[in-house]
């Protein structure tokens, strides 16, 4: 179930082969995605984390379909975005972010089911891990990371840090169920947003689609880098910016789910991110 009062962070320590689900009430103002990812970098700066982070709408609303990957590349904090089914699986694994620390002494595959993490050897592979239909798998193929055998990220930041950390694959399975309190209102809003697909800056395509997005566009494969701070904190698709930069829509979504963010929280987000980046730079 969503925790409206705190951000849930699954920390994974590759050195110790330990994992822990932590709840941070004081991180709620970071909303999600890039904002949460950068703050976790500040908190765990000594441990060189790679952070996967979603936003409050992922899993619940159409076009909120990306996952932010925040990492340190040679002293520069980079934020990149990957599509596919990952954000939906993370939502129903019950985590807002996964922060992976340290380096494994052996090539490792992480098998994550909700908050439970198994550290497996490379020989395991990812094909047999996770629950069919409820899992996302991240793999190396020809030195490129593929999510769900198809989706990638821009540049090679993720490949580089996974190699440094000796991570050969990650499988994430989500089995939690949520029931928004005002379900009828949620359903109505869901369908209203879905009907706005003509407002997207991509055309309907013939390619694999991100979960909760009907478009199957040609852009989803390569992921995203940079862009609007609110979109990147909600971790919606940049091509749905017309929808998710509409503050009225964003608040309707947040309120329907039960979050109590204020306009000030949203307005202060760019400043909060900027200040956090300044402190860790």
């Amino acid at each position: 179930m969503i925790d409206f009062l705190a951000k849930k962070v699954l920390t994974i320590d590759l050195n110790k082969k330990e994992a822990d689900l932590k709840s941070f009430a004081d991180l709620n103002k970071y909303l999600g995605g890039v904002a949460l990812g950068i703050k976790l970098h500040e908190m765990y700066s000594d441990l060189n984390p790679v952070v996967l982070a979603i936003g409050p709408l992922n899993g619940f609303f159409p076009f909120a379909s990306k996952t932010a990957v925040v990492l340190n590349d040679g002293g520069v904090i980079e934020d990149i975005y990957i599509g596919g089914s990952l954000s939906l699986r993370m939502r129903f694994a019950g985590v807002d972010a996964i922060a992976i620390f340290g380096r494994s002494d052996q090539p490792t595959v992480l098998d994550i089911c909700n908050a439970k993490v198994d550290f497996l050897g490379e020989e395991t592979g990812t094909d047999s891990l996770g629950l069919p239909g409820k899992r996302s798998a991240i793999n190396f193929e020809n030195n490129k990371i593929l999510l769900d055998d198809y989706f990638t990220t821009p540049e090679s930041f993720l490949e580089k840090i996974f190699t440094e950390k000796n991570i050969k694959g990650v499988v994430i399975t989500g089995t939690e169920i949520d029931k928004p309190l005002n379900f009828d209102e949620y359903e109505k809003l869901y369908n209203e947003i879905l009907s706005k697909k003509d407002e997207l800056r991509v055309d309907m395509g013939i390619y694999p689609s991100c979960s909760n997005c009907p478009m199957g566009c040609g852009k989803s494969k390569i992921g995203e880098i940079g862009g609007n701070v609110l979109i990147n904190s909600l971790v919606a698709c940049q091509f749905a910016d017309k929808i998710y930069t509409d503050i009225g829509v964003v608040f309707s979504c947040l309120n329907t789910l039960g979050y109590s963010y204020t306009h000030e929280d949203i307005e202060n987000l760019p400043k909060l991110i900027e200040e956090t980046i300044r402190r860790i730079s």
């Binding site: 899993g59 239909g133 409820k134 198809y150 939690e176 879905l194 390619y207 689609s209 478009m215």
Partner: protein, 91 residues
């Protein structure tokens, strides 16, 4: 008259899972657990697309299957009513 949901054009499925999520919403829940539709994604040799497999629990037909069919952006499903199926069998 019983309505039956059938995936007749699975090759067109783009894996968006809108059908799965719609069926879950009809059961007043959001998530993947105990979903009556499951989408399995399989790699194709050309790496340009994925091959989708759709598994449907027959209990889906107790839901509003036309709504599930309609939400699919690729028209993967057809809704047949029970009488039509019986008619086809007789032919």
């Amino acid at each position: 008259m019983a309505k039956i949901l059938k995936p007749t054009q699975t090759d067109k499925c783009n894996g968006c899972e809108l059908c799965l999520l719609e069926s879950q919403r009809q059961l007043k829940k959001v998530g993947l657990e105990e979903a009556l539709i499951r989408i399995f994604k399989k790699k194709r040799d050309d790496n340009q697309k994925l091959e989708m497999q759709i598994e449907i629990d027959p209990r889906i037909n107790m839901l509003h299957v036309e709504k599930i069919s309609k939400i699919c952006p690729k028209d993967v499903f057809e809704v047949e009513n029970h009488e039509e199926i019986e008619g086809k069998n007789e032919e």
